[in-house]
């Protein structure tokens, strides 16, 4: 080393006599391709090694909880679309079930089956995007193109069912917006048929890819104890070896009828999280095919939902009773009993919870959204420490979070 490049004698040395370089502060985000939205990481680096990582969130805080307190239960459904905007159908369902618990509504089997099918399709769509984005983060652009091809097919089905590509507002309180179109379940089945081989093809680009394994295996290891202590849920928790899946362990919407496996990781590293998500997509397709195979007939709306949702438009214009009903729901909102309910659903990102405090009337007094991404990200200060700078991108990709839900 030339003398002028050597460290001066005055350079700080630590206890073991090694030279301690000056730490560098780096602000990553809020606009950064691998922060999947507007997460910001304030990091302190010692060379290439991260010594401290402080997530700064709130760049997408839109005030959803305050908005909920200012509108009726029905009016809030579109806002749930925009929490985890990769799986709006699953969010709609979680919110609807939470309010139905408050209203004590029994949901008919057909509606439950529709909800299960849509929620599992949403899971596939969310995991596909997570996979594609993870691929980009570690340098595999092709995966993104493959997964978006499949997502567009899903969007086509969503659009046929709900009228929108992904801001669906489909599951309403007491039922769904409308029945499934004729032949739709057959097309869903056809999608699953062709999706499974395509999924294998997509995953085969990564699973045995040397580059991908090197970038993810052993990176961002989360122990079982840490995962529980930080409140991780969803694939991130299961990858750490905790077989917790609310669909299995606390079934809702008729999930107990379906036969599916819960994949569980062993190491809790980024590669395990990737494998768990891949397997979950296969299981979701399995659930969808079962639900389609025994798709029940009957009503797609709960009997008691008449006091909650607006009546059909043609009836409103012709019948006095429905006109009054329509007026009441628009003016006062659906009348709910007073009380407190908390419901969590197994969403693609983890357990999405709604805690509703009602004082009666058509407006919630307080609606707290328990966002899985919020809890999943809270472990970042722990898991990033000691990682190389380049691994941060891989860790973020493997945690697969959505800021809309994290910040609300």
């Amino acid at each position: 080393m030339p003398a002028e490049h050597a460290f001066p004698d005055s350079a700080a040395k630590n206890a073991s006599g090694e030279i301690e370089a000056e730490r560098m502060s780096i602000s990553m985000g809020p606009s950064h391709p691998s922060t999947h939205g507007v997460l910001r990481l304030q990091m302190e680096l010692d060379g290439e090694v991260v010594r401290k990582a402080e997530p700064v969130i709130g760049y997408l805080h839109r005030g959803d909880e305050k908005i909920a307190e200012n509108m009726t239960y029905n009016q809030f459904v579109p806002y749930t679309d925009r929490l985890d905007y990769l799986a709006p159908l699953a969010n709609n369902m979680a919110y609807a079930i939470a309010v139905e618990k408050l209203a004590k509504l029994e949901i008919p089997p057909r509606c439950q089956a529709i909800r299960v099918i849509t929620a599992e399709m949403a899971r596939i769509s969310a995991h596909l995007l997570g996979l594609g984005a993870f691929g980009i983060d570690v340098g595999a652009w092709t995966v993104f193109l493959y997964s978006f091809t499949e997502r567009e097919k899903l969007y086509k089905l969503f659009e046929e069912l709900t009228g929108a590509r992904f801001t669906t507002s489909y599951s309403r309180i007491g039922g769904v917006t409308r029945d499934v179109p004729e032949g739709w379940t057959g097309r869903v089945n056809a999608f699953c048929e062709q999706f499974l081989p395509r999924l294998e093809e997509t995953l085969s680009l990564l699973t045995r890819s040397r580059i991908f394994v090197d970038r993810t295996a052993g990176i961002g290891v989360i122990s079982k104890e840490d995962a529980i202590a930080y409140g991780l849920t969803g694939p991130n928790l299961r990858a750490s070896g905790v077989p917790l899946d609310l669909r299995k362990d606390k079934p809702y919407s008729g999930y107990e009828q379906y036969d599916f496996d819960v994949p569980v990781g062993t190491k809790g590293d980024g590669y395990d999280r990737y494998l768990v998500r891949g397997e979950e997509m296969r299981q979701s397709a399995r659930i969808i095919r079962q639900a389609v195979a025994r798709f029940p007939g009957g009503s797609w709306q709960a009997e008691g939902a008449r006091r909650i949702v607006a009546p059909p438009k043609d009836r409103v214009l012709t019948s006095m009773e429905e006109l009054i009903q329509n007026f009441m729901i628009v003016t006062e909102g659906p009348q709910m009993p007073a009380g407190e309910v908390y419901f969590e659903a197994e969403n693609p990102k983890g357990a999405l919870g709604f805690f509703i405090v009602s004082k009666g009337g058509g407006v919630p007094w307080r609606l707290k959204i328990r966002a899985p991404s919020f809890c999943n990200l809270s472990i970042l200060p722990k898991v990033c420490v000691g990682a190389m700078m380049a691994d941060i991108v891989s860790i973020l990709g493997s945690l697969d979070f959505v800021m809309g839900e994290c910040d609300r």
Partner: protein, 169 residues
């Protein structure tokens, strides 16, 4: 009399290699067909923005597939999603770092007006902090709508007096 500079006179040998045009037309033609976007992906609209870049809609057909997160390399900022007050200063700083000429597309209701988020935390339209060229309606807009916005922006760029701007700058 023979012209000393043969390039100034008619030369049949280079006929067909020369196109006479206005500088504006040439500059605008180049600019409008290679707009590199700065994807300011903030919320839900960013997913449709990714969809535009992906296989089915393929924004590369319009010369705008080169998404650059570095503002120095970008020409058009696509503000896709809700701009909150906390985020607004970052958006403005990134806009300031982009090199002129630069354009802005406000994608979706939130970026255009605040949309359905009339609340204490949301900037009510990104045009409060930076000039917007094209607004796209929708929550989120379909990918086709964004492509249409890009075409609209290209039309707008083609009408700009680019040469005089360059000379006066």
């Amino acid at each position: 009399m023979v012209a000393s500079n043969s390039e100034l006179a008619y030369n049949s040998k280079i006929e067909g290699d020369v196109i006479v045009s206005r500088a504006d037309a040439v500059i605008n033609w180049i600019r409008s067909n290679s707009m590199w976007p700065m994807p300011m992906g903030l919320a839900c609209c960013a997913i449709e923005l990714m969809g535009v870049a992906a296989s089915r809609f393929d924004i590369a057909r319009f010369g705008a597939e080169v998404m650059r997160f570095s503002p120095k390399q970008a020409d058009v900022m696509i503000v896709a999603g809700t701009v909150t007050y906390k985020m607004s200063s970052a958006v403005r700083r990134i806009y300031d770092q982009m090199l002129a000429p630069k354009w802005v597309i406000a994608m979706g209701a939130c970026a255009s007006t605040g949309g359905m988020y009339r609340s204490y935390a949301v900037l009510q339209g990104v045009d409060r902090i930076l000039p917007v060229d094209v607004y796209v309606s929708g929550c989120p807009p379909r990918p086709e709508a964004l492509l249409d916005a890009l075409l609209k922006l290209q039309e707008k760029v083609k009408r700009e007096p680019s040469a005089s701007k360059l000379l006066s700058a």
